[in-house]
């Protein structure tokens, strides 16, 4: 080994069986004194183990190809790292190389005492192996629940002015920060090249993830090395064996027939139906996303229902791909952790849909049962709030309200105008009234497709049934804004100044008498008429804001139903190690060890200074899980609670509702930016490996089954080797 700074670093799994028998430590040697222990093989000869490792005997019968191991763990083969309990082994059993680890294990010691001839100091980093079959793993940085394939583009596509410029300045800010960070890179006081150990970390993480699987594979193959007396079976045993094999053969024959003839047909049919559905979905999606001009909003941008349907369809289109990915995972090593987030995402969306449907059925059945009552309630609410409340408020405004000095004539005029529209609208509503129960019934029925559907429909219903308020708001805002601008310019005239567009400033100008006269009289007029208009405008603006907030509530419910990280939360409770959020180290007090050293034996008197560290995974934090919720909350807040909006409200400009895309980016974050088209899906589905004979997975399964009985088995052959 070329370089070692005398620091021995041993990654030691805590949960490998610790016996006090002499054994051979097998594992990865990343660099000089930087080793990851994978397994401890008892009662074998280091040299033969070395040879076996070279020849790959120990990995014989691996379920999947071996080069993935090399790719991920960075080494072609493992090495013999050292021996355990050398002193208890018979003398001359093996020659200890200087770089070997000499570990003392035993049932009493949770962490082995490690020493090495060339090491001046030792770090023993003991870790608990994640069990790949339970999809546990560790990673340096928190796992991403959302798809990472699209960040800003989805936001940048939002191109209605305000948000666009918000985004723009945000991006500018981000870029500024980026430049700062680059400058920071330029500057460093002392540069030092990272040592081998430093660079090894990511590889070590993989090796730790692989440790469990490899160890079990090796323990299975330990029997292949080391010489064992080959004893023959007795007759009875042979008979039994014959019989069992015959039965197995029979079963296998039938099974093979089924696999080879029936299964493909079923599968093909299934795939065809799936693809046909996919095609239908495609058509729907096209309808939903059709926009007559690239700038004009698509159907899904207008209506929440369309949006909801679109999301569901998207999910439907994505599921097969996800499933295929997960299936592919099956015929790879369990320790390959790349597909775990996909797994979580897949099941999360499934779960959500299931939940959605369950709740939906409840709601739907309720609504359908008493559709009439609900319809009456809704009609009542509608009349009460969208018609009568407005009506009364306008009437209130027409008489002098709250001592406001309104201009009677103008108030009457405006009030009559709006009242007339309201009358007309209410008549429309009344004609619509008998239809309402059917609509409600339909909504209720639709909610069998999930509770999110009726919510979306309700939000659409609200926006449809309050069109008149929207229009009132628009009209009054226009009037108000217009009047305000005129007042401002007339005020300049009043001051004998005028706004100079060229210089972009106000400079003095002297008007003619008639200009002055007309200007002043108009100014006075508008000035005294302003309060009236303001009052009306405020009235409708408030109504508008109320509606917007109501829809915001609906949208929040929708996003909860669509994207609540239910599955992740459950996993977090059930098995936190499946949601790694990083790693952390714990420095253990070594006092007790030293004490133990002092009184135990002479062998450890020359013990290098050792620090025992526990490597533990950090479970994903809840904030990380709900990160996107926070994001969405920020975005909404930035859109509505900004001074810009307040300014718009005050000056009577139109306050644009937040773009659906922005609002729903949360929902889309679990879906790919562009869905795979039908051809890709077809290929993907067909690329699924046709089932081989199930025997192929038997050894895996069997080893999986008799895993618990492993130690004593090993103890057995150990005993056999003893005499």
């Amino acid at each position: 080994m070329p370089e070692h700074d005398g620091l021995m670093r041993v990654f030691w799994p805590t949960d490998i069986a610790t016996s006090d028998l002499p054994g051979v430590i097998v594992g990865w040697r990343n660099s000089g004194l930087d080793v990851v222990v994978v397994a401890v093989l008892d009662h074998v000869d280091p040299k033969s183990v070395e040879g076996a490792l070279k020849a790959g005997i120990l990995l014989r019968g691996a379920p999947h190809d071996l080069d993935r191991i090399e790719r991920l763990c960075g080494h072609s083969s493992m090495h013999v790292l050292g021996v355990t309990n050398p002193e208890s082994a018979p003398e001359g059993k093996f020659i200890i190389e200087p770089s070997w680890v000499l570990a003392t294990t035993g049932p009493s010691l949770r962490v082995p005492k490690v020493k090495c001839q060339v090491a001046s100091s030792v770090q023993t980093i003991s870790f608990e192996r994640p069990i790949p079959n339970r999809m546990q793993y560790i990673s340096l940085d928190p796992m991403a629940l959302a798809l990472a394939d699209k960040g800003d583009p989805s936001l940048l596509s939002v191109s209605d002015g305000s948000d666009a410029e918000d985004e723009k300045q945000e991006r500018r800010h981000r870029q500024k920060r980026r430049q700062l960070v680059d400058k920071l890179k330029l500057h460093s006081v002392v540069k030092h090249a990272p040592s081998m150990k430093d660079k090894a970390l990511s590889r070590i993480v993989n090796q730790v993830n692989w440790a469990w699987e490899l160890e079990h594979l090796m323990q299975k193959n330990v029997s292949l090395i080391g010489t064992r007396p080959k004893r023959t079976l007795s007759v009875s045993e042979r008979v039994v064996e014959q019989a069992t094999t015959m039965r197995d053969d029979a079963i296998l024959w039938v099974w093979d027939k089924i696999i080879f003839y029936v299964f493909p047909i079923v599968r093909r049919i299934f795939i065809l139906t799936l693809v046909s559905h996919r095609a239908a979905a495609e058509i729907f999606l096209m309808i939903l996303e059709w926009r007559l001009r690239p700038s004009s909003p698509a159907l899904k941008d207008i209506s929440a229902t369309a949006q909801q349907i679109e999301i569901r369809l998207q999910q439907f289109c994505y599921w097969p791909m996800q499933y295929v990915k997960l299936r592919l995972r099956k015929n790879d090593w369990a320790s390959v952790t790349t597909s775990h987030p996909d797994y979580i995402r897949f099941y999360n969306s499934l779960w959500l849909v299931a939940n959605d449907v369950i709740i939906g059925i409840a709601i739907g059945s309720y609504i359908i049962d008493n559709a009439g009552w609900v319809a009456d309630q809704i009609g009542l609410l509608l009349r009460q709030y969208t018609v009568e409340a407005l009506h009364s408020s306008i009437e209130w405004l027409m008489g002098w309200p709250a001592g406001l000095k309104l201009n009677k004539e103008l108030a009457l005029f405006l009030g009559d105008l709006f009242l007339w529209v309201i009358e007309y609208w209410s008549s429309c509503i009344t004609t619509l009234q008998p239809l309402l129960p059917h609509i409600i019934w339909f909504i209720g029925f639709s909610s069998f497709a999930g509770a999110s559907m009726p919510i979306a429909m309700f939000s659409d219903l609200v926006s449809i049934l309050t069109i008149h308020i929207y229009s009132f708001y628009l009209a009054s805002a226009r009037i108000y804004h217009w009047q305000l601008t005129i007042l401002l310019s007339l005020f300049q005239l009043f001051r004998g100044k005028k706004y100079n567009v060229l210089r972009n400033r106000v400079d003095s100008c002297d008007y003619d008498l008639d200009q002055l006269l007309v200007g002043t009289i108009l100014f006075t007029l508008l000035f005294f008429l302003l309060p009236t208009v303001v009052v009306f405008y405020l009235n409708f603006a408030v109504a508008r804001m109320a509606i917007i907030s109501l829809k915001a509530v609906f949208d929040t419910m929708l996003s909860c139903l669509n994207h609540f990280p239910l599955f992740a939360l459950m996993l977090r409770v059930k098995d936190p190690r499946r949601l790694p959020g990083g790693i952390r180290f714990e420095l253990r007090d070594t006092q007790d060890r030293l004490k133990l050293d002092s009184n135990s034996s002479i062998a450890f008197s020359s013990h290098p200074p050792t620090s025992v560290i526990y490597l533990k995974p950090i479970p994903l934090s809840f904030t990380a899980m709900f990160h996107q919720y926070f994001q969405m909350g920020n975005r909404i807040r930035k859109h509505y609670l900004s001074p810009r909006v307040l300014f718009c409200l005050i000056t009577g400009r139109f306050v644009p509702p937040i773009h659906r895309k922005v609002l729903y980016s949360l929902q889309y974050s679990m879906l790919p930016a562009k869905r795979a088209d039908i051809i890709q899906m077809w290929d993907a589905l067909n690329s699924l490996p046709a089932k081989k004979r199930p025997l192929g997975i038997y050894p895996y399964g069997k080893q999986f089954i008799n895993m618990p009985s492993l130690p004593n088995g090993r103890r057995a052959n150990g005993r056999r080797g003893a005499p």
């Binding site: 006269l517 009289i521 006075t524 007029l525």
Partner: protein
């Protein structure tokens, strides 16, 4: 400073006398920046300090110099005294003379202060003009005129409001008077046409410069009577007391009447140029061409008709405008607007100034609109508005012309106004008996009005003259020099 203010005055009174000569000498040194102002139009500082010229001010400045002990002069005196007492000792040490330059390293410490040159170019009250009494009184007439016209307007409103006077008669008479005034004004314009034509042919700069010069000439002819000249002179100061934006700046650095008028006219000329593109009814003297006077008349008539119909159309809306507003708030509002009108009125405006302070005009118009909106009937609203336009829009132009034409017109006009206002107020205040016209109260009102006017004029003049002795301006090279620019306006955004 406390350490010095305490012992100082008592310590060495001798030094104060000792310190007078260098002070005055330094102050009277002709310095570069003040050389253009050496026209005899204002007193030189030594008049102020040695108290040579008008004997009236002697005591004034004496007392000033004596009274102000914490003032800058005494401070200066102390500084000089110290320097004197100190530089002697230094001159014993250093032979080479010290020069007030930075670009050579002199063998003096950085904090060396040369007694002879230090604060040399300081001058105090450099352009002080003592006021005389009568010119001041003469100037106040302008203000009196404005106040009186406002009063007359209010009187008419009250008359209409309390239905003592029929609006029609008011409008009729006022319109008739306006027409006469317009004829007269037009005739005056006719006399002044020629210079304008001449100016037309030149380029802008030369034109305005020349116009300036001609205005001077005309003024010097027109202001043969000393009162008028000094009247314009003192206007600057009257304004300065009621600090008026740019015009102050304009006046403050122009000493005498000639320069002041010149600058004002340069101002006007620019404004005339400025107002040129929009040729609405132009009340300005500079008519485009000789034949253009017809067009001028036509445009005037056109605008008159326009105004007429505008008011006619708007008065129904105005009638119901402020019904819901409580009357007292309306009274307060109109009062403030009229006050704005009086305060922001451009009293110094030359003839050419069209609507120099449109703020005041606008305020008056708005006041009249607000008041009109209290009136019950459309006719009243209409007539009041029209009347207000005549009073606030057109009448000032006429007044300005009258003053510009001849002093007698001016005086006569103001007397008339005072009498009218006083009488009107008297009539209004009189308890109305049925039908009979209250002569007595009217006469009483006239008397009281005249009395008040005279009192006010005299008192304000006295007050101003009294104020003047507190003036103590220190100038020196550190002041931001005021650029003297012939060709361009520079006061729009300084």
């Amino acid at each position: 400073m406390a350490s010095r203010t305490g012992p100082q005055p008592a310590a060495n009174p001798t030094q104060r006398e000792a310190s007078f000569p260098p002070l005055t000498r330094s102050a009277t040194l002709p310095d570069i920046s003040s050389s253009p102002r050496t026209s005899r139009s204002h007193l030189a500082p030594e008049d102020a300090f040695l108290a040579a010229s008008p004997p009236r001010q002697l005591n004034g400045f004496e007392s000033n110099a004596a009274s102000h002990d914490s003032g800058a002069e005494s401070r200066l005196r102390r500084l000089r005294s110290k320097l004197g007492s100190r530089s002697r000792s230094r001159h014993r040490r250093r032979r080479r003379t010290w020069k007030k330059i930075l670009w050579v390293k002199q063998s003096f410490p950085d904090n060396y202060t040369d007694a002879t040159t230090f604060l040399d170019s300081l001058q105090r009250n450099p352009r002080l003009q003592p006021y005389e009494f009568w010119p001041l009184v003469a100037d106040t007439t302008v203000i009196v005129q404005q106040v009186c016209s406002v009063t007359i307007f209010v009187v008419c409103f009250v008359g209409i409001f309390t239905e003592r006077v029929s609006p029609v008669t008011i409008v009729g008479w006022s319109s008739f008077a306006t027409f006469l005034g317009w004829l007269l004004w037009d005739w005056w314009i006719g006399q002044e046409g020629e210079d304008e034509v001449l100016q037309r042919q030149n380029s802008l700069r030369s034109r305005s410069a020349r116009q300036a010069r001609q205005e001077n000439a005309r003024n010097s002819t027109a202001t043969t009577t000393p009162s008028a000249a000094s009247s314009v002179t003192n206007l600057g100061s009257t304004e300065r007391t009621q600090s008026q934006g740019n015009l102050v700046a304009m006046r403050q650095h122009h000493g005498g009447s000639a320069t002041s008028l010149q600058s004002s006219t340069s101002h006007n000329s620019h404004q005339g140029r400025h107002g040129e593109p929009q040729d609405g009814p132009s009340h300005r003297p500079s008519s485009p061409l000789r034949g253009g006077r017809l067009g001028l008349r036509l445009s005037t008539i056109k605008s008159a008709i326009l105004i007429y119909f505008t008011i006619l159309g708007l008065s129904p809306i105005l009638k119901s405008l402020t019904r819901s507003t409580s009357p007292d708030s309306i009274w307060a509002m109109s009062f403030w607007l009229l006050a704005i009108n009086i305060f922001f009125y451009d009293y110094s405006g030359g003839v050419g100034v069209k609507f120099p302070a449109s703020l005041s005009t606008n305020a008056a118009l708005m006041a009249s609109t607000v008041l009109a909106s209290r009136l019950p009937s459309t006719g009243q609203v209409f007539s009041l508005t029209l009347f207000s336009i005549e009073v606030f829009g057109l009448f000032p132009v006429f007044r300005r012309y009258a003053r510009h034409r001849s002093w007698q017109y001016h005086v006569a006009l103001s007397v008339l106004l005072v009498i009218g206002a006083g009488g009107g107020v008297g009539l209004i205040l009189s308890d109305r008996k049925d039908g009979t016209f209250p002569w007595r109260s009217g006469l009483l009102g006239v008397l009281v009005g005249v009395l008040i006017a005279v009192m006010a004029m005299g008192a304000s003049s006295w007050w101003l003259i009294g104020l003047q002795k507190y003036k103590n301006a220190m100038n020196g090279p550190w002041d931001a020099a005021r650029p003297i620019i012939m060709s361009r306006r520079q006061w729009d955004d300084g």
